[in-house]
Subunit: 243 residues, 2 copies
DNA sequence: AATGTATTCGAACGAACGTTCGATTGGGGA
DNA sequence: TCCCCAATCGAACGTTCGTTCGAATACATT
């Protein structure tokens, strides 16, 4: 048992729950500011490498003072992730409301996702890069929101698949590929040379939608045999490490 | 200056370069085994969270004994990354040699990439997830190999773009989207329910190739206006954090 | 058997970490 | 003005970290 995980339930604080629900407006505003700054620190230094002292420096709050706003470093990560996921999920749901065609709903989801990514790069990097460090219960809670978000996207693609009779489409694989396209953007996006969020969203939506829609009549194994594939060797050798 | 970065050039070791080039076959074999095990530890615990003591436990080598094979923790990360990148770059170059059509070369690159990913998940997660922790010079060296790998892929897409007259295609964005699709796989791949490397590669290649090839005659801003986009609002408001 | 070099290790060092504790401040209601 | 409680902080604790050092062992060549 490390010093970090040791819990003293006999401390003098009233109602010994870690991080009591303190209600004031000023409290909420300051907590949000701390979450924002902490996300920036986590983004550049990484969750584990970043120290609470770094966050104290970034926020101007003293080391001990921070613990008035969150119970532990892990709690801080949890608050950032939950906050960001809830926000983007709500934005996504609002964004497809009243949009008729599944194709347009998908385009909307892509645009919202990328816009959120480029407007909140700190939170999104933390979301995609520091998934695995929450405790069992906290991890489950965050994953539940994430799953709902994934599901929202999945439904649109599945609807499209049914409507267009795309028998050979693996919807799960397609959706996860789409998320890959979008989420990877934090590794390369450069505002000086790349289009804005709408431009990127349009380009990715074109690739993805044309990619899955032109596959009608493709065999169910999910990969093209329409063209002679002169490269294909049936039993390609394992890629050897070294040399 | 931390204990970790302190360098004693007055130690008793001959030829005080950190990690001298020790030549024996047994040395090389053991170093490779250490790199393999260390990649596994880094994958599950993360580079910063993983301790040299974890790696000592995983390899069976004592804590101090490990430093006979690498000069520092960062050196260890560097060796893993360089080794993995050089291997996959060589495999990619070999894999497209003699393949005529750029489309087939791209399919080959995708298949090789995914196969390497699924056969060496530890190394690939370290490669994609722990990019930023190398020193300036080491980071530059690894990025040089990565750049060559990216360039190899870029050239195929660019060639395809020229051959098919895809005026509206943003090659950089397309290639980086493709890498996103492929590299994201480590976050979701489940061998129990997902197709093997060839199946995934075929599906992704279909999405990507059909996606960019069906864009012929599209306007140069890179996103579709062929269909009435009933969703598009020109000045959509910023996504607000919280409610 | 003797020698020299390659390899391995136990033990320790100093720094940095997350967290806690007791004390102090500050501002709004009595 | 006094009081209460929310908010804040300096200082410290115990642990873990990366790294080093000197000694011990293994091994190939004489």
């Amino acid at each position: 048992m490390t010093a970090a995980t040791r819990h003293s339930n006999s401390n003098g604080r009233a109602a010994a729950a870690p991080r009591a629900a303190r209600g004031s407006k000023a409290y909420d505003r300051k907590l949000e500011a701390i979450l924002r700054q902490a996300a920036a620190v986590f983004r550049t230094r990484g969750y584990h490498q970043a120290s609470i002292r770094d966050i104290a420096r970034a926020t101007g709050v003293s080391l001990a003072g921070l613990y008035y706003y969150f119970a532990s470093k892990e709690d801080l990560l949890y608050l950032i992730q939950r906050h960001a996921f809830e926000t983007i999920l709500a934005a996504a749901r609002a964004g497809i409301e009243g949009v008729e065609r599944p194709e347009d709903r998908l385009r909307a989801l892509i645009r919202i996702h990328l816009r959120f990514f480029l407007e909140h790069p700190n939170e999104m990097k933390v979301l995609t890069h520091e998934e695995e460090w929450l405790s069992k219960e906290r991890g489950r809670e965050v994953r539940t929101i994430k799953r709902a978000y994934y599901q929202l996207c999945f439904e649109q693609v599945e609807e499209l698949r049914r409507a267009r009779g795309l028998a050979g489409l693996n919807t799960r694989l397609a959706v996860l590929s789409l998320f890959g396209m979008m989420n990877w953007i934090y590794t390369w996006y450069n505002p000086k040379i790349d289009p804005g969020a709408s431009g990127c969203a349009g380009a990715m939506a074109d690739i993805f939608l044309d990619g899955i829609l032109s596959g009608a009549g493709r065999p169910a194994n999910g990969h093209s045999t329409r063209k002679a594939n002169t490269f294909e060797r049936s039993g390609a050798p394992e890629i050897r490490v070294q040399n």
